[in-house]
């Protein structure tokens, strides 16, 4: 592991925990899935077909917005929400780095017990 990768990891870790946590909810994960289809959607569109109230959906969208997974823009009288996949990609890279470290550590364990 390189020093910079590790130091970068410290700052990123906290953010990642927040992103993971934001996604650890069924409704929010469903919203991410709906937005992953591509087009920006209004709250009305995102509420359609679900039993959850507009108010609840708005609250969930704000949580996703707070960790940077979703961003909104006003279009006339409505807010349109769209997905920003960057934090998700970053998270995957973070887990990749932790996994890489384990490969090195386990490689040393293997050498020890097989020698």
């Amino acid at each position: 592991m390189s020093r910079s990768a590790v130091e970068g990891g410290v700052a990123l870790r906290r953010h990642h925990a927040a992103v993971f946590s934001a996604l650890g909810d069924e409704t929010r994960l469903a919203l991410v899935a709906a937005l992953a289809a591509g087009a920006p959607r209004s709250i009305a569109q995102l509420t359609g077909g679900s039993r959850i109230t507009r108010q609840a959906i708005t609250k969930h969208l704000r949580v996703l917005e707070s960790v940077g997974v979703v961003r909104s823009a006003r279009r006339g009288r409505h807010s349109l929400f769209e997905l920003d996949p960057a934090p998700l990609t970053e998270m995957q890279e973070y887990l990749g780095r932790v996994a890489e470290q384990w490969d090195q550590v386990l490689g040393r364990l293997k050498s020890l017990v097989e020698s």
């Binding site: 990891g9 993971f20 995957q92």
Partner: protein, 150 residues
Amino acid sequence: MKDRIEKRLELKAPPARVWRALTDHREFGTWFRVKLDGPFVPGQPAEGQITHPGYEHVRWKAVVQKMEPERLFSFTWHPYAIDPAVDYSAETPTLVEFRLEPIADGTLLVLTESGFDRVPAGRRAEAFRMNDGGWSAQMQNITDHVTQRG
């Protein structure tokens, strides 16, 4: 995408040998690169000095969870906790588990590290099971979406 890491490793050594390498604090130190202050005790904190080149100034801290001989060794810790100026104790730690299974010519070692999201396990499992395709399908959707944009 998952919020946990899993590694499976076939070792050409009997479970007893692997168990010793995992749980004898001196042996653990040689491959994990940490000089531990004392032996591992379930439920007790374990501390030592990292010996990985460039990180010798860093303290290593974990709390031993389970020690089921030749089957399971686990501890909680803070991965990447390498900044001496930061107090990591307020953060929820991740859980590291080493599971051993005897196989024909040695031991199957399964390592998992979980808890990156601080969400109770039950709720997380539920959320990640969402939809038939699950989370990996969602990740594929997202990837497709990014690709289309690019």
